[in-house]
Symmetry: C2
Subunit: 499 residues, 2 copies
């Protein structure tokens, strides 16, 4: 046992409360940069944000923390404190595993690559991109190796563990391998079923003020608390801020309201998770949302499971008429057909939920060997073409712009993130399957505007649990079993094959 006067758990919680407050400031300042800041504010802001990041880094790498963590591990702690200590250790490890020189080199190489990519992508300039991308890959491999040495995981697992704690490449191989056995046929069958359908496209213009009012009304319907958050506009929509003060952004085009509406619903899913995290834990790591995949399960529960379902579309139709006037296209069956169209395309972020996993599998199958050193950056286009052909039947040869240059993730050196998107889709399907077992009348309820059972289930099983459990345990407790991609398959088959 440690002596009572050795700093331990209590001291750690004080440091992490301070870090929580710094993170609050950082989140609001970051939102401001994206949603509010005029262009000439950029230089001074960058210096101010770098100063804040340095402060946060110094706090997380305070050399005394290691001893305090060890001391805390000898203390008699309750389950909540023990879970918090596990998350503190995870955060401490993430902050301390990499030497500062590598972090700086990574930031610099990523920023340089990303900056040039902004013009190289529209110019379809793969050769030019490669110049800046090679150092990014080299540093990502070093990072993976150091994280692997530190954690005892394989290099790609170590990268992925930052986004999806406890999920391993072996799990992903098994799950994605299974998806690949049925996905191409499912896409073909869905397209076949839809080939006979017609749908009327809503006619704009849809004034921005009306779209804004519609989005706010739908967010309120979905439980968003405007007393503790905002909806604004930015070039790249995101969900920012802090749990006590959520900052969502969207982007409006007067030709098309659906993109902003469905995007806002997606972000509202993320926001609901944050707004409903347990208040009392918020200032400690155990109060954080669990992972990127679980977070995505919330946005996709709201967007895919809920909002694009026929019962929910029936709730939306009168709101569209209210804000935009009546149109034939607002007939619920028609809207539902429009919003569940399956069409293989080049661009991941524009993909429907059926073809989306193909985009993720492709990226996983490239980034993993890339990080492991089994392939090189110059091998990417050929692999990309081959896999797009196999999975979606599309030819991207020579079209880097809409191919391997389309995402910002690799550009910035973020490897191990992509699987979270499809994990999120599968978790969401698994949540709704559990919810339907408990409430066989769920769809009738949704059609009647009764959404509280959905929120109640999420609150009980996901939101209130924060980071109390590691991901696999959270999944088991919430749904009664480990992640099972069969639910996602059944969801897609029910929605797309039995219409």
């Amino acid at each position: 046992m440690v002596k009572a006067d050795t700093p331990g758990y209590d001291e750690l919680t004080r440091v992490y409360t301070r870090l929580y407050r710094y993170a609050h400031i950082s989140a609001i300042i970051g939102w401001d940069r994206n949603a509010m800041m005029p262009p000439k504010g950029n230089e001074a802001r960058a210096a101010a944000e770098a100063e804040l990041s340095a402060l946060i880094h110094r706090t997380r790498t305070d050399p005394r923390l290691a001893a305090w963590i060890s001391a805390a591990e000898q203390e008699p702690l309750d389950d909540l404190a023990r879970a918090n200590l596990r998350e503190i250790r995870r955060d401490w490890r993430a902050a301390n595993a990499l030497p500062e020189s590598l972090v700086e080199a990574k930031t610099l190489a990523g920023a340089r690559c990303e900056h040039a990519w902004r013009s190289q992508r529209p110019a379809n300039d793969w050769k030019g991109f490669l110049e800046n991308f090679r150092p990014v890959v080299k540093l990502a491999r070093e990072e993976a190796k150091l994280l692997a040495d530190d954690s005892g995981l394989a290099p790609y697992d170590a990268l992925m563990d930052r986004f999806e704690p406890g999920v391993r490449a072996a799990d992903i191989d098994r799950i994605f391998g299974r998806i690949k056995t049925w996905l191409p046929q499912l896409i073909a069958a869905a397209r076949d079923a839809q080939a006979r359908e017609t749908a009327v496209v809503p006619q704009g213009p849809f004034p921005v003020a009306a779209q804004r009012a519609l989005n706010r009304e739908v967010m309120t319907l979905l439980g968003f608390d405007f007393g503790a958050g905002r909806l604004d506009e930015s070039a790249h929509p995101f969900s920012g801020g802090v749990p006590e003060d959520l900052r969502l952004t969207t982007r409006y085009s007067e030709d098309d309201f659906a993109r902003s509406l469905l995007g806002t619903i997606h972000e509202t899913g993320h926001a609901s998770y944050e707004q409903n995290l347990p208040r009392d834990w918020l200032d400690q790591p155990v109060g954080n949302a669990r992972s990127f995949g679980i977070h995505e399960s919330q946005s996709l529960s709201f967007e895919m499971q809920l909002a694009r379902s026929r019962p929910f579309v029936g709730l939306l139709a009168p709101l569209l008429r209210k804000h935009f006037g009546d149109q034939e296209a607002f007939e619920p069956d028609n809207l539902h057909r429009l919003w569940t169209r399956v069409k293989p395309g080049f661009i991941r972020v524009d993909a429907d939920e059926v073809t989306y996993p193909a985009h993720v599998i492709l990226r996983y199958e490239i980034e993993r060997p890339l990080v492991e050193g089994l392939i090189e950056a110059e091998d990417i286009p050929a692999l990309w073409d081959e896999k797009m052909q196999a999975l979606l039947g599309l030819d991207t040869r020579g079209n880097y712009r809409d191919g391997c240059l389309q995402d910002v993730h690799w550009t910035e050196g973020a490897f191990g993130y992509f699987p979270s998107y499809t994990l999120g889709a599968m978790y969401a399907a698994q949540w709704f399957a559990a919810l339907r077992r408990q409430l066989p009348d769920l769809d009738a309820g949704i059609a009647a505007g009764k959404l509280e059972p959905v929120f109640g289930w999420m609150r009980e099983h996901i939101w209130s649990q924060a980071s109390l459990w590691e991901t696999p345990e959270l999944v088991r407790r919430a749904s009664g079993e480990a992640l099972n991609p069969q639910y996602f398959r059944e969801h897609l088959e029910r929605r797309y094959l039995r219409r």
Copy 2:
């Protein structure tokens, strides 16, 4: 001479650059709280802001600074560095003169008094207010004594020096004493001259969107750079942000556009000062705006000297017609009559420029003996009544709400600030007198929309000088002489007696 390896001036500039960046974050976060934050964000935000304030305080009170300042004072520095060191010492002294326990007690007492005041003022509850106000006064006296001991100034001078460096109560006595010899007669004569005037009041509603567009157009006309700033809305309008990213706010009422327009012009004066401070000095104390009084001289130059002048009103009239449609009331002579109406009233913030000094003199003549212990808090209402009667001929007996309970300044323990308002008005009149000596055609130029000479003069004499000189020296260099209230008198006589 100090050894080369002793930290001195260079080390100090690094600390102050860091403080500048923290202040950037603090300013944007504060703007966000007032202009953007939803109500439920308040508690977490208060904790985050307190953490940041504590960090800034720790940095400014780092025990090593005293030695570094002493070492720097032995270094061979150029004039700019020497002025910067003077300002660093001023900031260091302000941060270190008071023990932390007193700062905390003051903050607590001020917050408690201010919080209760929000409901006590509408309830006209002087007795209740007094309970919380007595400790505020007690702590302000302690503060004044400690600042006086530290600086060698008299107690009230020491308080005022934080707002108007180098200006002393003896100066204020002399100046306010002189103003009192002519102000009551000038008010009476102005009212007399205006008694025969009639004016048509513009008829609303003035839609908020049109007011917003008008304000933006007028700000642009006044040189505000929207690439480096914004105009938003808040309950209590203010000018916030940082020189590289100014954040102005206003408040709209559809009945009356003039209040928001003239308020926005006032804030644009503050903003122009900040936007035109020398870029290269910004991260050091010498790059700060000089003082509260000089700052107010900019807002009043824009609002009183410029915007309410007949030539400028002639520029505004077509913009009003453009944004609100035509009205008889928009005839320039009519608008000018409306915007230069003299009417003694209870409320300082609603006062015209002729009666405004009376409100300030009254407060100065109460707060100074209060701080010096010559009167007590309970004596305020009687003194207030007596002085309102003498200066403005108004009876405020029993009306605390519109009398001594109207301002937030004393409530929060800010004594020594009020003189800055009238110093600002006098500086502004002195600047325009100097400008007219240089450019006898100034008014014709303004009437023709040529505002650059005004901005050019301010840029050369005020904006570019930042904190290079102490206030009296800045005034002498800018206008050729020390502060001379005669220019303010002449301005008022020209505008109000010779119409």
